[in-house]
Symmetry: C2
Subunit: 186 residues, 2 copies
DNA sequence: ACCTGAACACCGTTCAAGT
DNA sequence: ACCTGAACACCGTTCAAGT
């Protein structure tokens, strides 16, 4: 944020930060160029100097989120050698409150043309991660693949269900049974 | 659809049908009063004779969907006596193409104030249904509850992942392993 | 009872003009 | 290089006026 003639100059990053805030609060639809401009004290026209269009802004915001969030988390978890413990640590974050608001938006809007490619990349990284857990447990690759898919679909569904207060009352209060089911057998 | 002076009169149902079509094609956001009015050959003002506002229309559309879809499906599946077969039949519908477009919208937008109550009701009915499957299998209630939750979260997550072509390439091609995992063990 | 048409506020995008 | 302000199209909602 530079200044000139006492006026504040905005950077691309200023807009991105504002967009991520809006996504967290109200989802992708809440990213309104006019509202952000008002918040940042600039005109709508100014926005179009920094970004091609609204989709460009959302794309940049999600890219930033994915880098900070997934790319940095996976190596950290991979450091845990016991695969069951690694799975438990991952799933525990699902049960944590509050769930990352951008994460929710991402999976809910995964068919949005802007969201889709980011979501696909994050998904691939995460399923790879789960697959490693199950092969480390000694499962053959095809079984590990089925189980990784089940675990990841569970992860996504759990998030979606958690958004709805009435639905989440129905969920079990302990993770243990879920972990046990996923890691048992063979 | 009556007529008067050669002019077509629209009913609430005409608007609801148009709204369900729009939801299926582009999600809840695609329900635009002006666009529907143009499609139906009426003015926007006319819409507000039949509905309080846009949310009222979406609500009515989802109610209709839930009645047709879930309330009629559950008794039909309950007729299958073997619980494993019942689960397999249910999960098979998840793997079927194409997945119901309204179903996708419903779980993706389950935090939307209009969608939330409908989603919560549908969720309760379905988890009850799954719970019955697992108690029929001989599991104690608390274990059946954990497993019903896992199965339903899987169901939702599977749908969400299926929206994304790249993500769904990673899913296993056979349901059998998933059914086996869910139904196995004491 | 049901609909039209104009009005207002909000938003995305473009662009000539300013510094 | 970065921004403003006006313009246009699209949309939700209201309401007086029509039949």
């Amino acid at each position: 944020m530079g200044t000139r003639d006492g006026k504040i100059l905005l950077t691309r990053e200023d807009w991105i930060r504002a967009a991520l805030g809006a996504i967290g609060e109200g989802g992708v639809n809440a990213v309104a160029v006019e509202r952000l401009a008002k918040t940042l004290g600039a005109s709508r026209g100014s926005f179009y100097w920094h970004f091609r269009d609204r989709a460009d802004l959302i794309d940049a915001a999600l890219e930033l989120w994915a880098r900070k969030n997934t790319a940095e988390l996976v190596p950290e978890l991979d450091a845990i050698t016991d695969p069951v413990q690694r799975l438990r640590t991952l799933l525990r974050s699902v049960y944590e409150q509050p769930v990352d608001a951008v994460e929710l938006t991402l999976s809910a809007a995964s068919d949005d043309p802007v969201v889709a490619p980011v979501f696909a990349r994050v998904t691939r990284q995460r399923i790879d991660f789960l697959h490693r857990i199950f092969t480390d447990l000694g499962l053959p690759p095809s079984q590990a693949a089925a189980r990784a898919w089940l675990a990841y679909a569970f992860y996504i569904g759990h998030h979606q269900l958690g958004k709805n207060p009435e639905a989440s009352e129905l969920r079990p209060d302990r993770l243990d049974r879920v972990v046990e089911l996923l890691t048992r057998g063979k």
